[in-house]
């Protein structure tokens, strides 16, 4: 668990990760990836190496998208996608609202299905592009 948190911190470059979410991600990922412990040890040494690419992507998908496993179908019915064919076990959503992708843009964008401001707020010019503080 400590190792999972350490690797997550390295990959996200964030120091404020939620430990209870970390626990849940670590548990489910280890069920799906039996070699996770060894992979984590490797990532702790070489977070951006090629060897553990799929584990790195899985951990980042968990934190940023809030789910374990990919899972989006082809974007439109009828379209064919290779990703669809190689999809593994059903993906599981853990933390829609706490997905870090929304935090990255939370000064501008709502989390879809939530109301962030008064009706019509969207008419004003949004901030110009600048890195989030």
């Amino acid at each position: 668990m400590r190792l999972f948190m350490q690797v997550s911190t390295l990959l996200t470059e964030r120091s404020d990760l939620d430990p209870s979410l970390a626990m849940r991600y670590a548990n489910l990922l280890s069920e799906r990836m039996p070699q996770m412990a060894a992979g984590l040890a490797e990532l702790a040494q070489q977070p951006h190496g090629d060897a553990q690419r799929s584990l790195r992507e899985a951990i980042l998908t968990a934190w940023y998208v809030g789910q374990v496993g990919l899972g989006d179908p082809p974007p439109r019915p009828g379209a064919r996608s290779s990703k669809e064919e190689v999809r593994g076990p059903q993906p599981v959503v853990f933390a829609y609202e706490k997905a870090l992708m929304f935090d990255s843009v939370s000064d501008v964008l709502t989390i879809p299905s939530y109301c962030r401001d008064v009706p019509g707020y969207w008419a004003a010019q949004p901030p110009r592009l600048s890195p989030r503080k």
Partner: protein, 544 residues
């Protein structure tokens, strides 16, 4: 199983926007009305939770698991309910539940153009309607008032109006405003899209506050959904039976419908008699039901003496483009769609290739961007977050609807191979995209390139897949005579004097805009006909 019966003066099959409106208007006039809905009641809050918990967020069917006794198509993963037999997947999404498919839509509430009713006369292609735009105009107004449409009061969108929109338009998002400014300055016509979405409290529903989730579910009901009229119909005295899967229409030897038969989830069958029957079960389930209803007198099914039921299936095959705009426009602020490019909706070019509407997506790009940055570009940490902001701010997507012509070989049939747990046939679709559309799509692609250039676009990706848009039209065409269509100008099925269709299935032309408002207008017009009003001039348009 003992045989069971029920009865009403008017029996409506289907509780979507069409069935709900007809039931409401007849019940308001004091009629005895029974609505039979194949699917279950849904709760908005549960749909919202399903959406939040789904990993397939770009699949709008994902929050709507099909009822085992009333399947509907799903695509992530595919459940195979819609059997595809043609060269191109039809891929329609529709919802079998109380309220129907307007649970998920972008609420675009367009009227057709007057020319859309006269395609054959004006351009020598497709078919003319037996009615004109002027015949339908009062009912468009009635439909806009019933659904609650907000629209641009001072912009001509090509469809003449007798009265203002019930609500003013919502303010455009900054992105839509800039898009309109840039394109309108370069010879395009970009207009705010009329939408069944509240810009002020209307019909006991709140103002849109920009949850950016119109598809697959508006969490606050600021956007119209068919449950509105299903519930109103009940309040007005109509009875609504959910989980009642109609599988047979029973006619006498003169063609009069005596009854419809439905199955309950436990397999029990109920015979429902009535004086008149309205089929409002969309453009796939309605013809399927008519074709399944064979008898000695009608071996090819109900209304099918000329082999026209289920034929002339249409949609609006779509192509798209994504690119990075020069400016930080931030799609995702406000409702999911607000503007359309409308200058390709009509013109002499329709002799040669399809009319179309282009529309800018205002859906948040953040989730799809995050997934591709992580899994395709291998980014992490600050680099990932910087790029995520960049793509979220600058990635624009435009899609299109191309007008399809009614062609008999595009069709819906009941499958002879696959049946559901109640023994009812799956629908089978034979579908192809014709050259009339393909020629137009070549022009659409060049237009996308031009738009991208105007917006300072880079990283341009075209989506040329003729994506389905779930606008199921044409399978029980309206025509002047029974050798050309399935229903007459009053939406009455030829040869069956007490049987009517309320659906986009009756549309003889698909035009290039979302068909829901036309469904609603036709349902209001049918209601007036059933109430004995003189059509079309003295339309009593204002009703619940």
């Amino acid at each position: 199983m003992t045989s069971m019966t029920d009865s009403a003066e008017t029996v409506v099959v289907g509780s979507g926007v069409a069935g709900g409106l007809v039931a409401c208007r007849l019940a308001a006039a004091g009629g005895s009305v029974l609505i039979l809905e194949a699917g279950p009641w849904l709760k908005r809050a549960e749909i919202v939770e399903n959406f939040r918990n789904s990993a397939a967020k770009s699949d709008f069917m994902s929050p709507y698991p099909p009822a085992p006794h009333a399947l509907h198509p799903t695509y992530a993963p595919p459940n195979g309910y819609l059997i595809e037999k043609g060269e191109h997947p039809y891929g329609a999404q529709y919802i079998r539940a109380v309220g129907g498919t307007t649970w998920h839509w972008a609420a675009a509430a367009w009227r057709l153009l007057p020319s859309d009713f006269r395609l054959r006369s004006l351009y020598g292609v497709g078919k003319d309607w037996p009615i004109t735009y002027e015949d339908l105009e009062p009912y468009y107004q009635a439909a806009e008032e019933a659904l609650g449409v907000s629209g641009p009061q001072h912009t001509d969108v090509g469809s003449p109006r007798s009265r203002p929109y019930p609500m003013d338009a919502l303010p455009l998002s900054w992105m839509d405003r800039r898009f309109a400014e840039v394109l309108n300055g370069a010879g395009f016509t970009v207009v705010p899209e009329p939408a069944a979405r509240n810009s002020r409290p209307y019909d006991e529903r709140p103002t849109c506050c920009g949850n950016n989730n119109c598809m697959p579910i508006c969490p606050i009901a600021a956007q119209y959904a068919g449950e509105v009229h299903a519930i109103k119909a009940q309040r007005l005295g109509a009875r609504l039976l959910a989980n009642a899967v109609v599988y047979r229409i029973e006619c006498d030897d003169k063609g009069l419908v005596q009854a419809v038969h439905y199955k309950r989830p436990d397999g029990g069958s109920v015979r429902v008699t009535g004086k008149r029957f309205v089929l409002a079960a969309n453009g796939i389930e309605t013809p399927k039901l008519m074709l399944m209803s064979t008898s000695e007198r009608y071996p090819a099914g109900v209304g099918n003496q000329h082999d026209l039921v289920g034929r002339h299936l249409m949609d609006h095959p779509g192509t798209g483009v994504t690119f990075l705009a020069r400016e930080a426009l931030w799609p995702g602020r406000g409702p999911m769609e607000m503007t359309s490019v409308v200058n390709f909706r009509d013109g002499p070019f329709r002799r040669e290739h399809a009319a179309k509407k282009l529309h800018l997506s205002n859906a948040s790009q953040t989730r799809s961007a995050a997934m591709s940055l992580i899994t395709e570009q291998g980014l992490a940490g600050k680099a990932l977050e910087t790029q995520l902001r960049e793509l979220s701010a600058r990635r624009l997507r435009i899609d299109s609807f191309h007008e399809q012509l009614p062609r008999p070989e595009n069709r819906v049939l009941p499958s002879t191979a696959k049946r559901d747990k109640l023994g009812i046939a799956y629908p089978e679709v034979h579908y192809a995209v014709e050259d009339y559309v393909r020629r137009s799509a070549v022009h659409t692609r060049a237009t996308y390139a031009r738009i991208a250039q105007l917006m300072g676009g880079t990283d341009i990706t075209f989506h040329d897949d003729f994506a389905p848009n779930n606008h199921i039209m044409g399978t029980t065409l309206m025509a002047d005579n029974p050798s050309s269509g399935v229903v007459d100008r009053d939406c009455r099925v030829f040869g069956h004097d007490n049987l009517y269709v309320a659906s986009s299935a009756v549309m003889p032309s698909a035009a290039s805009v979302n068909c829901t408002l036309t469904i609603a207008a036709l349902a209001c017009r049918l209601s007036d006909h059933l109430l004995g009003h003189v059509l079309p001039t003295s339309a009593s348009a204002r009703l619940p």
